[in-house]
């Protein structure tokens, strides 16, 4: 059973139907490369997966369970959308780091907010338990709980810090921990953005043309980091114009043209012997651009 299954995703903006029924599956630990010309719907697909846009039609299954069904979209609250989002991470073309925070804080911010939510939940649980306890024991219980809560808080903080430092090392930016985004090169900023997305340990990590906004000499360092993320545990979807990269890293390639999947298969199939004429034309054109 596929880890991720997208069924018949459709999205229109006014008169313009951008996704015309996209279906695909992805196994755990696999990398899916999505290629195709600009305006074909690749970015919209990623945005739909991350619920930045809500598909008009279609369903999404994750780990065998239905995560989203467009038929029920009007009934889904913002809070539920937010929960669903946490299954997916997204690295943007433009990095979108938070300029007022250091590299370290950029990575810890969301973790800390989620930890705080968890902490409040625990605290509410405790006070409910206190109300249920006999009166004479409440004071003692409160003292014990206070100790536990303090411990939880300290552990959360330590865990976040440790994880963040490990991630920074993984993207090779440990020494930039206290730098601000504007002090970094584009490639470094994108590596921070990758660490930030990794910090939430999402089920699936998406990349929206992660090197398109970079100077050519900086794309290598970012692609290398993404390549390094490949493991049996990380499932990734990469929208990219870097054909060599797609070929080298992807387990599965999808070519999207005009809102539809025109062709898909292994990199060997799609790049080696494309069946569709549109795919052939696209590949020929991207090859021409190289030389």
């Amino acid at each position: 059973m596929a880890f991720l299954e997208v069924k018949n995703y459709r999205k229109r903006f006014g008169e313009n139907e951008v996704l015309k029924g996209i279906s695909f599956t992805l196994n755990k630990g696999e990398v899916l490369a999505v290629i195709g010309s600009s305006g074909g719907g690749k970015t919209t697909l990623l945005r739909c997966l991350n619920f930045l846009e809500i598909p008009d039609e279609g369903e999404l299954y994750l780990g065998g369970e239905k995560l989203f069904d467009a038929a029920e979209k009007l009934k889904i609250s913002n809070a539920r959308i937010r929960e669903k989002r946490l299954h997916f991470g997204l690295v943007f073309q433009q990095f979108n780091l938070f300029p007022q925070y250091t590299v370290f804080k950029n990575i810890t911010l969301a973790q800390a907010l989620l930890a705080r939510q968890e902490f409040s939940r625990k605290k509410a649980e405790f006070s409910a338990a206190r109300r249920g306890a006999p009166k004479e024991k409440r004071a003692q219980l409160k003292a014990e709980q206070k100790k536990i809560l303090a411990e939880i808080k300290a552990n959360q903080k330590a865990a976040i810090e440790q994880k963040t430092l490990a991630l920074l090392e993984r993207v090779g930016l440990s020494e930039k921990k206290d730098a601000y985004p504007h002090e970094l090169s584009g490639g470094q900023q994108q590596r921070v953005a990758i660490a930030r997305a990794l910090a939430l340990s999402t089920d699936i990590l998406c990349f929206d043309e992660p090197t398109s906004a970079l100077d050519p000499e900086l794309t290598g360092e970012v692609l290398k980091v993404i390549k390094g993320l490949k493991s049996s545990e990380s499932t990734m979807i990469v929208v990219t114009h870097e054909m060599d990269f797609a070929r080298g890293v992807a387990d599965h390639v999808v070519f999207i043209a005009d809102g539809q999947i025109e062709e898909e298969g292994t990199p060997e199939e799609v790049f080696g012997s494309p069946k569709s004429e549109k795919t052939q034309a696209f590949l020929r054109k991207s090859l021409e651009e190289l030389f």
């Binding site: 991350n50 930045l52 913002n78 809070a79 937010r82 929960e83 989002r85 946490l86 997916f88 991470g89 997204l90 943007f92 433009q94 979108n96 780091l97 938070f98 300029p99 007022q100 911010l109 969301a110 907010l113 989620l114 601000y180 985004p181 504007h182 930030r196 997305a197 939430l200």
Partner: protein, 216 residues
């Protein structure tokens, strides 16, 4: 001479009170108005736009009188406490100007900042308070300094309601009491304004510097 300074200082204290009260209340109210201007709910947006048009489209002095004597429309007597009336008029007036500045600042923040927060599982309120707000503050500091400085000087309008002896009104009282030519207290009042606005300018400069550690 000492008498002159004391009277002017007392007047300036009233000026400062009006200024501080207006600022403290209009800054948050303006943000609320800004949300109204950007509301997804069309009627709210529309009402807010018309309201801002009316407030920005009529003289502040007229608004002072309307707030003061407005209760007559409902068969009530005019607001006796002219200081209160002045504060109400100033707060509403400045909140509208602030609202437009806030809106401009908020809309200038790239969509990517919001989306980055969203994909990281943040709530709308978290995104606004943790990510957007400080960037907005940095962006609007210069136009806000204009408004704040204008407010200091606009407070003089309050004396038209009578009973509010702010610094300009105080100059007349000084001449009445001492027979000193009006020009001296008037020049003195100017010095008070210059000194205080000089201080505010330094404060804004400091804030700008404090927020200079990042770029938006």
């Amino acid at each position: 001479m000492a008498e002159l300074l004391v009277q002017l200082a007392q007047g300036f204290l009233v000026t400062l009170e009006l200024f501080a009260l207006t600022l403290v209340l209009a800054l948050p109210l303006g943000l609320l108005f800004a949300f109204g201007l950007m509301s997804r709910f069309r009627p709210v947006r529309w009402v807010m736009k018309v309201f801002v048009w009316i407030i920005r489209g009529t003289p502040l002095m007229l608004q002072l009188f309307i707030v003061c004597y407005g209760p007559a429309l409902f068969g009530l007597s005019a607001i006796r406490n002219s200081f209160l009336a002045a504060v109400i008029a100033f707060v509403i007036n400045y909140a509208c100007y602030f609202a437009v500045i806030y809106r401009g600042g908020i809309e200038s923040i790239s969509k990517g900042q919001y989306e980055a927060g969203q994909v990281l599982g943040m709530t709308g309120a978290q995104i606004f308070s943790r990510i957007v707000l400080l960037q907005v503050i940095k962006r609007i500091l210069a136009p806000m300094s204009n408004e704040v400085i204008t407010l200091v000087k606009d407070t003089s309008l309050a004396n038209t309601l009578g009973g509010i002896v702010e610094i300009i009104a105080a100059t007349k009282e000084v001449t009445g009491a001492t027979g000193m030519p009006l020009i001296y207290p008037l020049l003195g009042a100017g010095v008070f304004f210059l000194a205080f606005i000089g201080l505010l300018t330094l404060l804004f400069g400091y804030l700008e510097k404090r927020l200079g550690y990042f770029k938006v």
